[in-house]
Amino acid sequence: MTMETDVNSSSAGTDTAGVAGPVNERSALQRLLTVTVGPIVAAFLLSAIILAMVGVNPLTYYGYILERSLFSGLGLEQTATRMAPLLFLCASLIIAFRAGIWNLGTDGQFLLGAVVSAATAPLLVGVLPGWAVLAVGFALAAFVGAVWSIIPALLKAYQGVNEIITTLMMSFLGVLMASTLVKLVFRDPNTTVPQTRTLPVEDRLPRLFETSISSGLVWGLVAVLLVHLMMTRTSFGLRLRTVGANPAAASHAGLSVPLLTLATFGLSAGFAGLSGASEILGVAGNVRANWNPAYGLMVIPLVFLARFHGVGAIVLVFFYSALLIGSESAARRLGVPQDFTLVLVASLLICLGLGEYIDHHKRKKER
């Protein structure tokens, strides 16, 4: 099966297509409309129809979300804090997608990273200095996340087994494993509900200035930007992208495709593990049994919309984070279950595909 990390068939080249000269400036704007703004607007409209169908006024709902997450001080701070794990996940997916690997197992990697950091950090408080506790937590999370991708990585690199299925299966396993570990191994003996020990608030990632925003946000931003630079500006990134674009050609060029595939899996899954740690060490402090925010698949459309570009991903994560915060509150206040965000994300994926299709055909006509 040929791998296309792209919604239509040719987006590895879209990064460079944007800088073609003054003649194309207007069409660049048009492209932005068809492949970015258009799909977002269409997705919100499509979801509005579904809201109306179940008897919820879409204007009230969207209005409430905006008000709650962007136009209130506390809401904005929550939105900024929630961005951290999503940003780490974007970093994870940007590596994988640019290197032509479908890592659909980020949920399992995220949760195992979260559980391991929640299990170790509280025990290290007082033993190690504060910064070292956090550093160890993050490092272990990255390691465990990466370990969880070893089987799909080896199967893909040396046996050519499709990673879509293997990573999904490992994700189901990882989610159950995380919950098992919380109940059987890392359970806090002092609580009745099964959960890990809690990292005291003062030992978590520091907050920014006088706000409640966790500094995980800063690390998330750094991660996305570093990953972006690594993939676009270093020879290692070029190697990974070459494998992604055409494994056979990469092999002819003397690159070790299996080793680079293993590296892609390790890095991508490692960042997914960091994402879990950022949520625990920054915000939650512990993991309760059966906790699973399932951000993994939801971040995919953002990364596609951003065309695997780090800065674009950051902007989209901000709005997506606002949507999450708003819809969580709307679930309590307006009685619309949070599952509605799944509908919105799905509409976004579908409209995004349609936008690419329209764009693809327009460009074909121009040629």
Binding site: V161, F172, I300, L342
Partner: protein, 311 residues
């Protein structure tokens, strides 16, 4: 764990294996046709969930299991129509749209269920069973093999029908050509997009029926997110079956047994947490993929949209 090998345990293990296998069998058979025709249908999980929801809703409203099954097929086909238009007609990326359909079906069914039933989970009455005099009364295997709902035997019959279809008919050859060499089929006057649309809709129907079975017979109720990866396991079955329906049946029984250990161990009163037991089917899938993944044979044009005259 002392009474693990009692008759009650074995009986619930066999029964559970078959009940758990049927949805995966139906999904696997459906996915197999899509894959043969060159469409990797990741949206099958969503089709199954839509089938489960619509199948349950209609069975619940009409008190008829058969109308419920029809509703399940309808739900699956409606979802498959979106896939057929976007991925076959327009040639969009099958994985992106597939993930989209799965997420969308998860969200939509949870949303609809919430507004329909709020937080209640009404149950259907227990289904009437086929009763073969003599055979059904056999110990342990009797009730599990001969006391099932008629739909189970129809699913097994579908294995035979599909095997004949793939081997003996022009339709079977056309399906294979669409997956292996779509351009050659096109030149020979075959309708590549038409046959692929047919395959995707068939997948939707089978997955929807599987979902309806899961909800109406397997559980007797609908719970949001209830398919829990059964559709994805269907994809694995289709991948490993190398195009043979019989292998899908064998595979689904193996995974069904792994899944039914969950309930059987609970019946036996073991104190292993459910999370560990629920890992069994996925662990079995991974084990099989590690052992036999290399031998999975997939059509050459799988996952590639066909566009006439493109390179």
């Amino acid at each position: 764990m002392g009474g693990l090998l009692t008759e009650a345990f074995l009986s619930s293990l066999f029964t559970g294996a078959i009940v758990a296998a049927v949805p995966m069998l139906l999904a696997g058979l459906g996915e197999q046709m899509s894959e043969k025709a060159g469409v990797l249908n990741i949206g099958i999980e969503g089709m199954m969930l839509m089938g489960a929801y619509m199948g349950f809703l209609i069975a619940f409203k009409t008190d008829s299991l058969w109308l419920g099954f029809a509703g399940g097929i309808l739900g699956g086909v409606l979802t498959a129509i979106v896939m057929a238009i976007l991925c076959v007609r327009l040639g969009l990326n099958q994985i992106v749209i597939g993930i989209g359909l799965t997420l969308g079906a998860e969200g939509l069914t949870a949303l609809l269920h919430h507004f329909q039933f709020s937080r209640t989970y009404p149950r259907l009455p227990a289904p009437e069973r086929l009763n073969v005099p003599g055979l059904t009364d056999l110990p342990i295997i009797g009730p599990s093999l001969f006391g099932r709902h008629l739909i189970v035997y129809l699913a097994i019959a579908a294995v035979v029908v599909l095997a004949l279809l793939y081997r003996r008919t022009n339709l079977g050859m056309t399906l294979r050509a669409a997956g292996e060499r779509p351009a050659a089929l096109d030149v020979a006057g075959g309708n590549v997009l038409g046959i692929r649309v047919f395959a995707v809709l068939f997948t939707g129907a089978m997955a929807g029926l599987g979902g309806a079975y899961l909800a109406n017979i397997g559980a007797g109720l609908f719970i949001p997110f209830m398919t829990g990866g059964a559709g994805f396991i269907g994809i694995v079955l289709a991948m490993l079956a190398r195009g043979r329906p019989l292998w899908v049946l064998i595979g689904s029984l193996i995974f069904g047994a792994a899944l039914s250990l969950t309930t059987a161990l609970q019946v036996a009163g073991s104190n292993i947490p459910t999370d560990v037991i629920q890992m069994l089917p996925f662990a079995a899938v991974m084990l099989v993929l590690v052992l036999f993944g290399r031998r999975a044979k997939l059509p050459a044009a799988l996952g590639v949209a066909y566009e006439r005259g493109a390179r």
